[in-house]
């Protein structure tokens, strides 16, 4: 993976301002339309092998996403970025802005931090559109003031079209994985690098990748063991290799940094508040979007049955309570459908010594075979 810090410095050397967005689903289009380059700060595993600075601020029972994000921001005293954006994604992330602020202020380089509350009340329970509108309009005013820019509806429409295309191409790539024409590992790398790349460059990479893959005439293995992968982050590369070595094909994707983030884009429109209302309301269900709870179980069922998956591999992001509260129920639902499940609990440093995972994955693959 390319060095993220170098990549961001390169963007900045072109005179562009970079805003770091906390995971999971920031309104990237909005930042882009204001001339900023948004990067989403997850999947930093390769760039942040150690978290010494973060450990001085955050306990080890925070998830790897939070700890790496913290480490990334404290490296070089946050000089990589021009601002930060966060929303109420989870209990751990919501506590971080002021910790980051303290850390960077001590170093004499405070960063502007923009905050947004995305309504989590279910739409059929509470009408929250007016509230979100007010928050989005306030966010725009804050961004305009901080960066001396002006919001322009036509620019916003253009930004939406770019992100729409990026998500559509990413989805096309995902179908290539399901069809066995691209490895899940390669797909994961492309998507992960995309979170740190300007959308225009991301589109070039995606188009090129799709072109390469479509020229291949490989016939997918008939011995496919078809699974859905679910989690906040994709499995570490060592585990992806174990999956592929066991002839397991990822035919369905329920990973937050992949399909959950890429599945849905509203059509182009000029009004950012309307856009965000649509974007969040119809977002692919996620454990962290509390109002999607009633849609989530059905979404998993449909993903499994629609892809013909025989198993689901849950990648447990250690200490992510949102995910862990759901696993037992989902496991039961899937087992009732005759679908095998494998739960892999991944800690921050679980990319080495993965032999135990390999054994479990091989056993899981054999069990899928025996289930027919």
């Amino acid at each position: 993976m390319k060095n993220i810090m170098d990549g961001i410095k390169e963007i900045k050397s072109q005179g562009r301002k970079v805003i770091g967005c906390f995971p999971l689903y920031p309104p990237l289009e909005l930042f882009h339309s204001l001339g900023l380059v948004p990067v989403t700060l997850w999947g930093l595993k390769d760039a942040i092998p150690r978290v010494e600075k973060s450990d001085r601020h955050v306990q080890p029972y925070a998830c790897s996403v939070a700890r790496r994000l913290m480490e990334f921001l404290l490296q070089e005293n946050g000089s990589a970025l021009d601002g930060l954006f966060m929303y109420n994604a989870c209990d751990t992330l919501r506590n971080l802005p002021e910790i980051i602020d303290c850390g960077l202020s001590d170093a004499g380089r405070p960063l502007p931090i923009f905050k947004l509350h995305i309504p989590m009340a279910p739409p059929d329970q509470t009408e929250s559109g007016a509230y979100l509108r007010e928050r989005i309009e306030r966010l725009i005013r804050e961004l305009e003031k901080a960066y001396g820019v002006t919001f322009k509806p036509d620019q916003f429409r253009h930004s939406v079209s770019l992100y729409r295309e990026m998500r559509a191409l990413s989805k096309s790539l995902e179908t290539r994985v399901a069809a066995g024409f691209m490895s899940y590992g390669k797909f994961s790398k492309i998507i992960e690098e995309g979170w740190f790349t300007p959308v225009e460059e991301q589109l070039l990479v995606l188009r090129e990748s799709l072109g390469d893959e479509s020229r291949k005439k490989d016939v997918p293995s008939t011995k496919q063991r078809r699974v859905v992968v679910s989690g906040i982050l994709p499995p570490p590369m060592s585990i992806i290799r174990d999956l592929e070595n066991a002839d397991i094909t990822v035919v369905g994707n329920d990973v937050a940094s992949q399909n959950r983030a890429l599945c849905y884009t509203p059509t182009e429109m000029d009004d950012p508040a309307d856009y965000c209302m649509d974007f969040y309301r119809h977002h692919y269900p996620c454990t962290t979007l509390l109002y999607t709870a009633d849609r989530r179980v059905n979404a998993i069922r449909e993903l499994v049955s629609g892809t013909g998956a025989k198993g689901v591999v849950f990648i447990g992001e250690k200490f992510c309570e949102y995910e862990y509260f759901e696993f037992p129920y989902l496991e039961k639902v899937l087992n009732d459908m005759g679908v095998r499940t494998l739960f892999l609990d991944i800690s921050i440093d679980d990319d080495e010594n993965t032999a135990a995972y390999a054994t479990r994955i091989e056993t899981f693959a054999e069990l899928m075979d025996s289930a027919g």
């Binding site: 306990q59 506590n95 303290c102 009340a121 279910p122 329970q125 509390l290 309570e321 509260f325």
Partner: protein, 426 residues
């Protein structure tokens, strides 16, 4: 040293303690009885404004977090946690949740209160802790019980008016939901009356906590942990208002008579996090044996206040929903670091705190993640020592008394060192 000292020390069961036991017993008996007779049962998160339910003829509410705390205090926490873990719930999840899931899915077996009557409605909120929403979703999915989610913006500063309006609109939705599901009519006047009783109760609560300013302190934080229970289960009742009035009077009388929980008090400490429910008696006694007293806790001094404050935010008789929305953040977890620090600094200065124990609690990330920076600020800006110990509020399997007390004893030594330095420099 103060004379007439009680020979007992630490947290002791006083007359108020005995009255408390009776109130709690009555609360749970009443809950089960009314539920058995057909009342509409609501399960709520602790900061859901329970006074709203008094606006209905026959709605009762249960507080799973409070029940879990009681279970932990009675020593059945690990047993119930293990039941949940056998169902696949990770040990890393909140121990309140595991106790509750273990209890609920085992039909209330081993619970000190025979569990809780099954709900007709679940009401959670996401400002105190969002995981409670996920926890209630399990019941929603398993039992098919409707789940109402109060969406409350997190506070990095004082609540803004737009957030308040948004919360009020959700209260109206909640009222409509209960009317529809229960077939009962809502009466706002009754909520107003309930709020007046809650306000009276909280005024007495603040008087009770003020007894910590006495030297020695008139209370231990352990007293406040135990005594907060009816605030969760009996909000809006005369029983609560009467009990807290008597509690305040009794505590003030004890001070006047020279009766103190830690008569040889040499170290005045502050606790930051949820109470260690399984350790109240042991920790209290052991601290007292070291002449140390936890005289305050962020967990209990926040009750009845606005964000970042210590003083009571009184009900002025106005629109009940507006008032309830304004105090929707009246616990610690919905506050950012700046607000938490502001309140802690006030408590340290007002009460003459010598040192702070930050209880890093992996069962409550929302409370704990930011404590490392809080600790730094307390030591560097206020200049008093502080330590961090590992605690789980309800799962005693994750607590080591010896490790904790090694650090607490180090804290006491730091306090002594600081005193010597101050004496030398003066």
């Amino acid at each position: 040293m103060t004379n007439k000292a009680s020979v007992q020390s630490g947290h002791q069961k006083s007359a108020a303690g005995k009255r408390l036991s009776k109130i709690m017993f009555n609360d749970y008996m009443n809950l089960h009885q009314k539920a058995g007779e057909g009342a509409f049962v609501v399960w709520i998160a602790i900061v859901v404004p329970a006074e709203l339910f008094s606006g209905f003829d026959n709605v009762v509410y249960a507080v799973p977090e409070s029940h879990a705390a009681m279970s932990a205090g009675k020593g059945v926490g690990p047993l119930q946690c293990e039941k949940a873990e056998k169902m696949g719930y990770s040990m890393d999840l909140c121990s309140y949740a595991r106790i509750d899931l273990g209890t609920a899915f085992d039909g209330g077996k081993d619970s000190p209160t025979m569990g809780l009557p099954k709900p007709h409605l679940l009401v959670s909120n996401n400002n105190n802790c969002s995981l409670l929403v996920k926890w209630f979703d399990i019941y929603h999915r398993t039992w098919g019980v409707p789940h109402f989610l109060l969406d409350v913006p997190f506070c990095y500063g004082p609540q803004n008016p737009r957030d308040l309006d948004y919360i009020v609109s959700q209260y109206r939705d909640l009222i409509r939901t209960i009317e529809t599901l229960s077939g009962q009519t809502f009466h706002m006047d009754r909520v107003r009356e309930a709020l007046e009783r809650t306000s009276d109760a909280l005024e007495s609560w603040k008087r009770f906590l003020k007894a910590a300013a006495s030297r020695p302190s008139g209370l231990t934080a352990f007293d406040s942990f135990v005594q907060m229970a009816p605030y969760l289960t009996s909000r809006g009742t005369k029983a609560l208002a009467d009990h807290y009035r008597l509690l305040a009077e009794e505590t003030e009388e004890n001070i006047a008579r020279g009766i103190f929980p830690v008569p040889n008090e040499r170290y005045r400490l502050l606790w930051d996090n949820i109470a260690p429910w399984h350790q109240l008696s042991k920790m209290s006694s052991r601290l007292a044996s070291l002449d140390a007293n936890l005289i305050a806790a962020s967990y209990t001094y926040c009750i009845g206040t606005l964000e970042g404050e210590l003083d009571l935010y009184e009900y002025d008789g106005g629109d009940p929903l507006t008032y309830l929305a304004r105090i929707q953040n009246c616990s610690i977890c919905p506050h950012g670091l700046t607000l938490r620090y502001k309140a802690m600094r006030s408590a340290i200065e007002r009460l003459g705190i010598d040192g702070v124990i930050f209880a890093s609690n992996r069962s409550c990330k929302v409370y704990s993640v930011m404590q490392m920076d809080m600790l730094k600020r307390v030591t560097s800006e206020i200049g008093i020592p502080a330590v961090m110990i590992d605690v789980d509020h309800a799962d005693m399997r994750k607590y080591s008394e010896e490790q904790s007390f090694t650090r607490i004893e180090a804290l006491l030594e730091l306090i002594e060192d600081r005193r010597k330095e101050t004496k030398q420099s003066s």
